[in-house]
């Protein structure tokens, strides 16, 4: 592992697809595989709600500078896993073997705000735009280390006015990049769902994070905007940021992710490059279903024969399952 770490590809820009493929080709496509330069290492995180185990991840490493997708069926524990490592929830195993480290810093007992300050910023599945505040106020809240947020300095404008101008300039630039600049003084509540997703992502970027964690960034976003969001995510990677995202749209996952981790029933069941993982039988069984490549909107499927054929297949599968029990 140490000789791999010496490779220049690990930490520097990952803009070149060939370099990324070469790098991920070196990873073992198995759950919990070791990466040469992991920015996030998670060990032994278990979260139980009563008797139900929502998350039980033994080991996971996230490679620096790549886009890693986390996929899995509903209820697989992806969002809970996000909450756990970002400090919004505490693992049941806290203090009993749960460890996770970000960028060499142990986060076992860190609050959500300190996790964000360490450089790991997240967005939420249900967008948390502050709707009764303007877009620019939303953005400026994202900046770190603001002198004016100190109660004793806040009353004296001179102590923070200069920093405020710098932050606003940065916010303007990000808003321009995310095509929200015209909305600068509008209330965030007046934005559309997709624009709120953009705003939340832009706001997260105000803190110059090392790693950004997106929880279903494309859910409920129209195809054109999805394209532009994908472009933004890729450009973040090309600038050297690490991206970890949860997504259900397999086209998106295939399109932009360099590495895919699959969760099912709280456990990490597979890891690998998108194409390899999606042909993995365990993943197909747990999540994708045998017909994941079929377009369900296709008229050809609506003929009686096709439906009968599908029904037969489903019945056969059910019988097979019952036999194994």
């Amino acid at each position: 592992m140490s000789d791999q770490m010496a490779q220049p590809t690990a930490a520097s820009g990952m803009a070149d697809p060939a370099a990324r493929r070469a790098l991920t080709g070196g990873f073992a496509p198995e759950p919990g595989s070791a990466k040469p330069d992991p920015i996030l290492v998670v060990d032994n995180i278990v979260r139980q709600f009563g008797g139900m185990t929502a998350v039980d991840v033994g080991h996971l490493e996230v490679q620096r500078g790549l886009i890693t997708a986390l996929i899995g069926p509903n209820g697989a524990g992806k969002t809970t896993f996000f909450n756990l490592i970002t400090g919004f929830d505490r693992p049941t195993t806290a203090g009993k073997g749960a460890h996770w480290a970000f960028d060499g810093r142990t986060l076992d007992k860190t609050s959500a705000s300190s996790v964000a300050r360490a450089g790991m910023v997240r967005t939420f599945q249900l967008t948390k735009a502050l709707s009764a505040m303007t877009v620019i106020e939303n953005m400026m809240l994202g900046a770190q280390d603001q002198a004016g947020e100190n109660l004793f300095k806040s009353m004296f404008r001179g102590t923070w006015a200069k920093q405020e101008r710098e932050i606003e300039a940065k916010a303007d630039e990000l808003l321009g990049r995310f095509k929200l600049y015209e909305k600068k003084h509008d209330y965030a509540g007046s934005l559309s769902g997709g624009q709120r997703k953009l705003l939340e992502m832009a706001r997260a970027l105000m803190s110059d994070p090392k790693m950004i964690m997106l929880d279903e960034p494309m859910a409920g976003v129209n195809p054109a905007l999805t394209q532009s969001l994908l472009g933004h995510v890729q450009s973040l990677r090309d600038e050297g940021m690490t991206v970890l995202f949860v997504e259900h749209d397999m086209h998106v996952v295939r399109h932009i992710s360099d590495w895919v981790a699959v969760m099912a029933e709280g456990k990490l069941v597979a890891e690998g490059p998108a194409d390899t993982v999606m042909s993995d039988q365990a993943v197909i069984d747990a999540y994708l279903g045998a017909h994941h490549d079929t377009d369900l909107g296709d008229d050809a499927l609506l003929t009686d024969e096709a439906i009968e054929e599908l029904e037969e297949e489903v019945a056969a599968e059910r019988e097979a399952e019952e036999e194994t029990k």
Partner: protein, 388 residues
């Protein structure tokens, strides 16, 4: 005509009273809690009572006034820390439950006969025990005076038309000021701010011209200090909420988790807000007892609810809303009471019933306000939220 003059005079006297100013200061503090941070503090009266006790007990027992003020603030500070530490990490409702019960605990402890040497139990501490030091600071001299030396009686012998025109002018000036404040542009240009200030001064002069209220110098002194403090507190809140700290407060009101995900220490900011608002409450309590006595029952649940009414009336999360709301609330209540006493015959409603009637009308008005104009007079509808 004389009846109307009498009623309006009574309203002006109530609007000007130091207790109105004291409640305005407490409402300014409550505005930081509820309006800007979304903390549902249901025990603002306890902060007032603690401030008043700290102030009055210290002076009564021979300490200098400055120490009394510090003790009042200290008591409220510790109270805020004790209330906030266990509840601010939980959902907002818990703070409401804890504050309302803690406020009752403070009031009952104050009433308890065990502490009669300190709190005077249910009878309270009479003002004469602690106001001397404050009265001695007065530079208003002795005797009695009205604020401006001429009034409506000096013009055409106080004919009816002078007063009617004056009243219309007062209403017009107040409406103009309110409109100016509602647009929120009052502080954008110096010219605009100056214009607002000018209208304000003209309005005050008109009011004192139409409703001369003669008071003793010592009574003017209390009123002067109380209203000076109201404006100082308003200025402090203005400076606080326009800062990035104030922005973080409003962010917390909207969505705590979002602010947490942006790396802000939400607990610390909420605690700061609780303490600051509580200190305003304590200051309000000290002013409240300057012209009366420290009585635990006068600062109970109902005072907290008056504070909320005043806040919602003026407009939560606005700078001038608390002041406007307090003045309108107390003046309006007295107005209703006087109208009922003047025009409703005693066989229908006795003098005591008019007092109760005024509170009923105020309660109904609050309900109508929350239903039809939840943002209050000065509030911005788009910024309003009741989902604490």
């Amino acid at each position: 005509m004389d009846n109307i003059q009498y009623i309006l005079n009574g309203m002006v006297r109530e609007a000007l009273s130091p207790q109105t100013a004291a409640v305005a200061i407490a409402v300014i503090g409550l505005n930081i809690h509820f309006g800007f941070t979304g903390l549902l503090n249901m025990g603002q009266s306890a902060f007032m009572l603690l401030g008043a006790y700290g102030f009055a007990i210290s002076i009564w027992h021979g300490l200098p006034m400055i120490l009394g003020i510090l003790f009042g603030f200290g008591a409220a500070f510790i109270f805020a820390l004790i209330l906030g530490a266990p509840t601010l990490k939980l959902r907002g409702d818990y703070l409401a439950i804890v504050t309302i019960s803690a406020a009752e605990i403070i009031r009952y402890v104050g009433r308890s006969a065990l502490l009669v040497d300190f709190t005077g139990s249910a009878q309270g501490i009479p003002g004469s025990k602690y106001t001397t030091a404050f009265d001695n600071l007065s530079f208003f001299g002795n005797g009695s005076f009205t604020l401006i030396p001429f009034n409506y009686r000096d013009v055409a012998d106080g004919a009816a038309w002078v007063r009617v025109i004056g009243w219309i002018l007062v209403v017009a000036v107040i409406t103009l000021i309110v409109l100016r404040l509602r647009r929120g542009g009052a502080f954008e240009g110096i010219a605009q701010a100056a214009l607002t200030a000018l209208m304000f001064v003209v309005g005050i002069f008109l009011i004192f011209f139409l409703f001369p209220v003669p008071y003793l110098s010592s009574e003017w002194w209390v009123r002067f200090v109380a209203w000076a403090l109201v404006f100082a507190c308003t200025a402090v809140v203005f400076l606080l909420v326009r800062s990035p700290w104030g922005r973080a407060l409003r962010g917390i009101r909207e969505d705590e988790d979002a602010i947490r995900s942006l790396g802000k220490n939400v607990f610390a900011i909420k605690m700061q807000a609780l303490v600051i608002g509580g200190l305003f409450g304590a200051l309000g309590g000290m002013v409240y007892v300057l012209s009366s006595s420290v009585q635990p029952d006068s600062m109970g649940r109902s005072l907290t609810f008056f504070c909320y009414t005043a806040l919602l009336l003026g407009g939560a999360a606005t700078i001038f809303g608390p002041v406007l709301g307090s003045v309108l609330f107390f003046a309006g209540r007295i107005g209703i009471k006087y109208i009922a006493a003047t025009y409703v015959p005693d066989s229908v409603m006795s003098g005591q019933q008019t007092e109760q009637f005024s509170y009923i009308v105020v309660g109904v008005a609050l309900m109508l306000l929350v239903i039809f104009r939840p943002q209050g007079i000065l509030g911005n509808k788009r910024e309003l939220r009741f989902n604490v």
